[in-house]
């Protein structure tokens, strides 16, 4: 029991869920506006590199976050240019961004720091450190509340709290603001938006800016929170797991949080189970646990547990005059 639901596992679940959550929310803004985003992985990687490099150079985690977000938004705009303005294939564009970033980040890293593509180890203010919540020491021994408050809620980097705060904020933006209403309409029926006298192009670019922002935060957290610097391939498919989480959540913000937590938990469990031998089961097939998010997503896509229906207009460039 302790092995599966212990404090360590739950704490690392929250930490590992954070980049998935931020990236999946980023994808949510993009896809609900009608732009398919296979490039989450690349944007996150680019942001992680920029964050690691800038945090080291300017000796500040916040400078790192800013740089990460800036790079991610730039990449998002490139995706926008290809898929909105040039009406290119959105999937091809996403794939391209993943590769360009994977290559260029390492080249620049090698050139600037000479560490084989890594950025230098970050210390102190160069990272986002754990925040101990007020009173968590005092409450530590109170049953249940102490376990929850001091054990799990307290002690994470600021980006973790921002990520989870982004869930209600996204929900509110999506369902309670003009921006959100138009964004959702863009993904379902851009012609309805166009005939209502609103620019489809402008609306989709704005959604991609938000996508870039959140993806940048995800990348920055990888380099400045979860690790102490950027290393090669540090996203390791997290962008695609985020995409899976987004699909698994049927493109809804609160569901995205639960999907990210589930996939984060599986990852935490996988790490925890490494080399463990359980009674009856024997040695735990860790790789199978790691593959579970993908398997679950395929099962969902197959329509065996509910149907994941993407926004209707996603992936199709909007053409007005025929």
């Amino acid at each position: 029991m302790e092995l599966i639901f212990g404090l360590d596992v739950l704490n690392s679940t929250i930490r590992l869920s954070t980049p998935l959550l931020l990236a999946a929310l980023a994808g949510l803004y993009s896809e609900r506006a009608g732009i398919v985003d296979i490039g989450l992985e690349g944007k996150m990687l680019g942001a992680a590199f920029a964050a690691g490099a800038a945090a080291f150079t300017f000796n500040s985690a916040w400078a790192g976050l800013f740089a990460g977000v800036a790079v991610s938004i730039m990449l998002s705009m490139l995706h926008g240019f290809a898929s909105i303005t040039a009406r290119g294939n959105q999937i091809v564009s996403g794939v391209a961004i993943n590769f360009v970033v994977a290559g260029v980040a390492i080249l620049l890293g090698q050139k600037w720091f000479g560490l084989g593509g890594r950025t230098p180890q970050l210390h102190g203010v160069e990272r986002f450190r754990e925040i101990t919540m007020p009173g968590s020491e005092a409450l530590r021994d109170v049953p249940v509340i102490g376990w929850l408050y001091s054990g799990i809620l307290s002690g994470h980097a600021v980006l973790v709290y921002m990520a989870f705060l982004a869930v209600p904020v996204t929900w509110w933006i999506l369902y309670r603001t003009r921006f959100g209403l138009r964004l959702r309409a863009l993904g379902e029926n851009p012609a309805a938006v166009d005939t209502a006298g609103i620019s489809v192009t402008w609306g989709r670019y704005r959604a991609l800016v938000v996508c870039g922002l959140l993806c940048g935060m995800a990348g920055a957290y990888l380099a400045l929170g979860l690790s102490a610097g950027f290393v090669k391939d540090m996203t390791a498919g997290k962008g695609f797991i985020a995409l899976a989480a987004l699909i698994f959540a049927k493109w809804k913000p609160v569901n995205v949080m639960f999907a990210a937590l589930l996939f984060g938990y599986l990852e935490a469990l996988g790490i925890r189970m490494q080399g463990k031998v359980l009674p009856l089961i024997g040695e735990v097939p860790v790789t199978m646990i790691q593959a579970l998010p993908y398997v679950l997503t395929v099962v969902l896509l197959a329509g065996f547990i509910g149907k994941a229906i993407p926004p209707k207009a996603s992936g199709i460039p909007y053409v007005k005059e025929r």
Binding site: V298, L301, G303
Partner: protein, 373 residues
């Protein structure tokens, strides 16, 4: 009325323009890391084609890319985007290993090789079957399912190597080394004819298999009834239904062929070079296949050229990283991305201006055509 380019411009000029832009941007990246792009290009080409061993390595890499490029292209012709060639290649290796590991003590290579071909194709095809079926029957987007299947494939491979195929007592996650009979012969003799040795390069018979497959894919697409049906489904699905072409069957068979081709890619590194399955033996060749297919405009001949170009980048890039320490092999990944960007996502960017250019200078030929019509 004329909204298109002459065939030669469409198949050659436009890709060349897109490619040139991709390489100009790549050159800018080289400048950014403080090296001379022209010098880098020279080292790269010399490393790839300057001596026998270099050429052999270039062709060795190209072999991988021909297989995966064909895999992506066949699916493209049917309107399907198979991002899953990587995973299908990984699973294909299990088919290769099945033949090699069970038979290499018993039979000569020329018996095992054909069996391994069939095994790799069957395993690769099987891995494409579920995404294909889900797309055809349930409308689950094949891009997403094949991405998921890539990750599942790597997990399956890790599991297979660590738990099943790893010889007892070994630490490395790989199979045992195949006996001589479980290896595909290298092409030393070919290079000796040209008075040069292979110098340890892994180029092997599967290069010819790749060329044969390219020819067979050409036959399939443009000379068979199924190819005709496949292209019709990919180009105009409503016309396909009108013509009595069943969409589900066509999509599934196309993806089986696509997966089979990707699976065969495993022959080259697994049986032709390393003589065992190592983790990560694909080295991203499945994804390079996307760039190769886009650049080769899904035509087997174009794919061969594009594959050789990427083979050159991989081999020359390796040499380049010796001579220019600031340029690692990651440069190749970046160039690959730039090619996908300019030859794929932004392929329409130059088309309108090119069409305008052609219609301005091509008036006379158009007029004669219109007259005839």
């Amino acid at each position: 009325m004329k909204n298109e380019l002459p065939k030669w411009a469409d198949y050659i000029l436009l890709p060349v323009i897109n490619l040139t832009v991709a390489f100009i941007v790549a050159g800018m990246v080289v400048l950014m890391v403080g090296e001379n792009p022209l010098e880098a290009a020279y080292i790269l080409v010399r490393g790839a084609f300057g001596y026998g061993g270099g050429i052999a390595y270039t062709m060795y890499y190209a072999t991988n890319f021909i297989f995966t490029g064909l895999s992506v292209a066949v699916a493209f012709h049917c309107g399907l985007f198979n991002i899953g060639s990587e995973g299908q290649a990984i699973i294909g290796a299990l088919g290769v290993a099945l033949a090699a590991l069970t038979l290499d003590h018993l039979m000569p290579w020329w018996v095992i090789f054909p069996l391994a071909i069939v095994g790799s194709a069957l395993f690769g095809a099987a891995w494409a079957l579920i995404p294909a079926w889900l797309q055809a029957k349930r409308g689950s987007h094949i891009v997403i399912t094949t991405i998921m299947f890539n990750f599942i494939a790597s997990s399956v491979m890790v599991y297979a190597l660590v738990e099943v195929l790893k010889p007892a007592g070994s630490m490395a996650p790989q199979t045992r080394t195949f006996e001589q009979a479980g290896q595909i012969p290298k092409l030393d003799w070919l290079f000796e004819v040209f008075g040069s040795g292979l110098q340890g390069a892994p180029l092997n018979l599967s290069f010819f298999l790749a060329l044969i497959m390219a020819f067979l894919v050409w036959v399939l697409i443009w000379r068979t009834r199924f190819g005709y049906e496949l292209r019709t489904t990919g180009t105009n699905p409503t016309a396909a239904v009108y013509a009595g072409i069943p969409p589900v069957r066509t999509i599934v068979i196309t993806m089986l062929i696509s997966g089979g081709l990707a699976g065969m890619m495993a022959l080259n590194p697994v049986m032709g070079d390393q003589a065992r399955i190592e983790l990560d033996f694909t080295a991203g060749a499945g994804f390079v296949g996307i760039a190769v297919a886009l650049m080769g405009r899904s035509h087997p001949l174009g794919i061969i050229f594009a594959a050789i170009l990427f083979g050159m980048l991989y081999q020359g890039g390796a040499e380049l990283s010796f001579d220019m320490p600031n340029i690692s092999r990651d440069m190749i990944i970046a160039i690959q991305g730039l090619v996908i960007l300019f030859a794929g996502a932004l392929e329409h960017m130059f088309r309108p201006s090119l069409i305008r250019l052609f219609s301005r200078f091509g008036r006379s030929s158009d007029a004669s055509l219109a007259e005839a019509a």
